[in-house]
C-alpha cells in the first residue's frame, strides 16, 4: 500500500477546519438546553448585548461548560498524542495508563478525608500528584524498551489498583450521600460547572499543554528509537519527565473538575493520522483540536439524547471509545500477537 505523504497545505486545511468545528460546536453548545437560543442571539450576547436572562444563561451557565469541554477535550487529545509519540505506540493513551483513574483516586481520597475544603486548589493538586505518580510508575515498570504488552499490562494493573483504592475510600466513607456523590462525579460530567471550576482547572491544563508543546519536536526524533534520539542531541530523560509532567498536570486538572472522561486521548490521534500523517510532532495540535471537538460533541449529545435521568459524558465517551479500542486491537492483531511494539 503506497500512500503519498501528507502535504503541508492539507495539514493547514485540516487544522483550520478543526478550528471552525470547535467554533461551530461551541455555538451549538451555548444554544442548547431548556431554553434554546439561536446562534445569532448567542453571538449578540457574547459581544455584550442581550437581556439579563439570556446573559446569565449563556455567560454563567453554558459558557463555563463549553470552555471546560474545549480545554479538557483538548488536553486529553494532546496527552494521547504525546504519550503515543513518547512510547512510539498507537495504543497508548492516558486512560489505558491509568492516569485518570489515579487522579480520581487522589481527588476522592481528599474528599473523603474532608481536606478538599482546606484550599480550592487542594483537589486538583491531589489529582495531579496521583496522576504523575501513576504515569511515572508505569514508565519505570516498562523501562526503556517500552514493549506494548508490558505497557498495557502495567497500565491495567495501575488502573485496577487506583479503582480498588477509590472503591475502598468510598467503602470506608462514613457519609453514604458523599459516597453516592463521588460515584456520580467519577463517571465524568461537565454539568453545572461554573467559572470557579474553569479557574480551578484551566491553569493546570494550560501548564500541562505548555509542558507537552515545549517538547513537540523531540517526539519526532523518537521515531528512530531512544538511542538515535539521544545521538541527535535530544535529552530523552528530560523529554520523558516533561511528558509525564504535562500529562499529569493536564489530566489531574481535568479530572479534578470533570471526573474521569476517558478514551478521547486514544481516539483523537487515530482520527487525525489519515489526514495529517504519522509524524508524532505534527499530530499534537490537530489531536488537541479533535479532542475538543469530540468532547464538545459528546457534551452536546448527552443533553440532546432523550432520557429520564442525565447521561454522564464520561459514560458516553467510554461507550464510544471502548469499541473503538477493540477495533484497534483487531486491526493491530498481528503486531500484538507477535508481542512486538
Amino acid at each position: 500500500m503506497v500512500i503519498a505523504p501528507v502535504a503541508g497545505r492539507q495539514r493547514a486545511i485540516v487544522t483550520l477546519a478543526l478550528c471552525a468545528g470547535v467554533a461551530a460546536l461551541t455555538l451549538v453548545s451555548l444554544g442548547i438546553g431548556p431554553v434554546a437560543l439561536s446562534p445569532a442571539t448567542i453571538l449578540h450576547v457574547l459581544l455584550g448585548g442581550g437581556g439579563d436572562v439570556q446573559r446569565i444563561i449563556v455567560l454563567e451557565i453554558r459558557l463555563p461548560r463549553a470552555i471546560l469541554a474545549i480545554a479538557i477535550g483538548g488536553i486529553l487529545g494532546l496527552s494521547g498524542a504525546a504519550l503515543q509519540g513518547l512510547v512510539r505506540n498507537p495504543l497508548a493513551s492516558p486512560s489505558l495508563f491509568g492516569a485518570p483513574q489515579a487522579a480520581a483516586f487522589g481527588a476522592v481520597l481528599l474528599i473523603a478525608l474532608g481536606w478538599a475544603d482546606i484550599h480550592s486548589f487542594a483537589l486538583p493538586v491531589a489529582a495531579i500528584l496521583a496522576a504523575f505518580t501513576s504515569v511515572f510508575v508505569l514508565l519505570v515498570i516498562a523501562g526503556r524498551d517500552t514493549s506494548l504488552l508490558i505497557l498495557i499490562l502495567a497500565g491495567l494493573a495501575i488502573s485496577a489498583l487506583a479503582g480498588a483504592a477509590t472503591s475502598l475510600t468510598m467503602n470506608l466513607s462514613s457519609n453514604p450521600f458523599a459516597a453516592l456523590e463521588i460515584a456520580f462525579w467519577l463517571l465524568g460530567s461537565l454539568e453545572d460547572r461554573s467559572f470557579r471550576h474553569v479557574a480551578l482547572a484551566l491553569p493546570f491544563i494550560a501548564a500541562g499543554a505548555v509542558a507537552l508543546m515545549s517538547q513537540r519536536h523531540a517526539f519526532r526524533t523518537l521515531s528512530l528509537g531512544e538511542e538515535a534520539a539521544l545521538s541527535l542531541g535530544v535529552n530523552v530523560g528530560r523529554l520523558r519527565l516533561w511528558t509525564i509532567l504535562g500529562v499529569a498536570l493536564g489530566i489531574g486538572g481535568a479530572v479534578a473538575v470533570a471526573g474521569a472522561i476517558g478514551f478521547i486521548g486514544l481516539v483523537a490521534p487515530h482520527l487525525m493520522r489519515p489526514l495529517i500523517g504519522y509524524d508524532p510532532s505534527r499530530l499534537l495540535v490537530p489531536s488537541a483540536l479533535t479532542g475538543a471537538v469530540l468532547l464538545l460533541a459528546a457534551d452536546i449529545a448527552v443533553r440532546v439524547i432523550p432520557s429520564t435521568s442525565d447521561i454522564k459524558v464520561g459514560v458516553l465517551t467510554a461507550l464510544i471509545g471502548v469499541p473503538f479500542f477493540l477495533y484497534l486491537i483487531v486491526r493491530e492483531r498481528r503486531a500484538l500477537g507477535g508481542g512486538v511494539a
Binding site: I3, S223, L224
Partner: protein, 260 residues
C-alpha cells in the same frame, strides 16, 4: 597517527552495573579512515561505539578534534558524532525525506517541513550520496530492507559530522547491499570523515577497512591494517577460528573456515 587524530580515547572504561564492559581502552583515530571494529559477541563493540559518542557514561577521557567530550553539550556532541544504531528501525511510517531531515536536528532544523536552504542542501547531498532521492516521498516502513538501510545511511550522512559511527550497518542485508553500504561508507571516509563500523563480517572488514580494531572481553587486543590486525594468531585466540586467506585485486581476502 596521533598528530592528526580526530578522535582520541584514553583509558576508557565502562561499568554496566558491577560488570566491567570496557576495560582501559586507548585509541587515536585520524580522519579520512574507514575503521572496522570487530570482535566476538559480548566483546564490548557496541558499548565502545556508544561510549565514544557519549551516549553512555564512561570513565577516562575522550577528545573529539581536541575538545574534551565531557565539556560539550548534548547538541554539540550530536553535531560531531553521527550515530547509526543497529536495526534501522523507524516506528512510524514517515516519508523518507523527513527521516533523512532528522539528521539536521542537531543543527537546529527541528521541523523537516521548514528547512533552511543550507539544511535542505545537506539533506539533498546525503540523499544523493546514499542513492535514495527517488524514495523521497515513500514511507520508510514500506521500503525493502536494502532501501531502508540506505535511508538510515542518508540520515547519518545528513548530519555531516566529522565522525560517523555505525553499528552493524550491513546486518541482515543481502551481499549486494552489504557491499553497496560499505562502498558508500568508504566514499564517505574518502571525503574526509572518520567512519567507524561495528561488524561481524571479517571478510568485509578486511576488504574495505583501513584500520581494524579487534576487541575481546572489553579490551582492545589488536589494531592496525587488516592483514596485521586480523592475523592468524588473533583469529585463533580471539575468534577461535581458522581462516582461509588470499589476495584478490590487491585486497586481502579472509574467509572464516573452521573452528579451532
Amino acid at each position: 597517527m596521533s598528530e592528526d587524530a580526530v578522535l582520541v580515547a584514553s583509558s576508557l572504561s565502562v561499568h554496566l552495573g558491577k560488570r566491567l564492559v570496557l576495560n582501559d581502552i586507548s585509541l587515536a583515530l585520524p580522519s579520512r579512515r574507514l575503521v572496522a571494529l570487530v570482535g566476538p559477541n559480548g566483546a564490548g563493540k557496541t558499548t565502545l561505539l556508544r561510549a565514544l559518542a557519549g551516549l553512555l557514561p564512561s570513565e577516562g577521557r575522550i577528545e573529539i578534534r581536541g575538545d574534551a567530550l565531557s565539556s560539550l553539550s548534548l547538541r554539540e556532541r550530536a553535531r560531531r558524532f553521527a550515530y547509526l544504531p543497529q536495526g534501522h528501525q523507524v516506528h512510524w511510517p514517515l516519508p523518507t525525506r523527513d527521516v533523512v531531515a532528522l539528521g539536521r536536528y542537531p543543527h537546529g532544523a527541528y521541523d523537516p517541513g521548514r528547512l533552511t536552504g543550507h539544511d535542505a542542501d545537506a539533506v539533498a547531498r546525503a540523499m544523493r550520496m546514499a542513492d535514495v532521492l527517488n524514495l523521497s516521498d515513500r514511507r520508510v516502513t514500506e521500503l525493502s530492507g536494502g532501501e531502508r538501510s540506505r535511508v538510515a545511511l542518508a540520515r547519518v550522512l545528513a548530519v555531516e559530522a566529522p565522525v560517523l559511527l555505525a553499528n552493524e550497518p550491513t546486518a541482515s542485508l543481502d551481499p549486494r547491499y552489504q557491499i553497496e553500504v560499505l562502498v558508500k561508507l568508504r566514499a564517505t571516509a574518502d571525503n574526509g570523515t572518520l567512519v567507524v563500523v561495528v561488524t561481524h563480517d571479517l571478510g568485509l572488514a578486511a576488504r574495505f577497512a583501513d584500520i581494524v580494531l579487534v576487541m575481546s572481553e572489553g579490551r582492545l587486543v589488536s589494531q592496525g591494517p587488516p592483514a596485521g590486525a586480523l592475523s592468524e594468531a588473533v583469529m585463533a585466540e580471539v575468534f577461535r577460528i581458522r581462516t582461509y586467506r588470499a589476495d584478490h585485486e590487491r585486497e586481502i581476502v579472509l574467509v572464516p573456515w573452521a573452528e579451532v
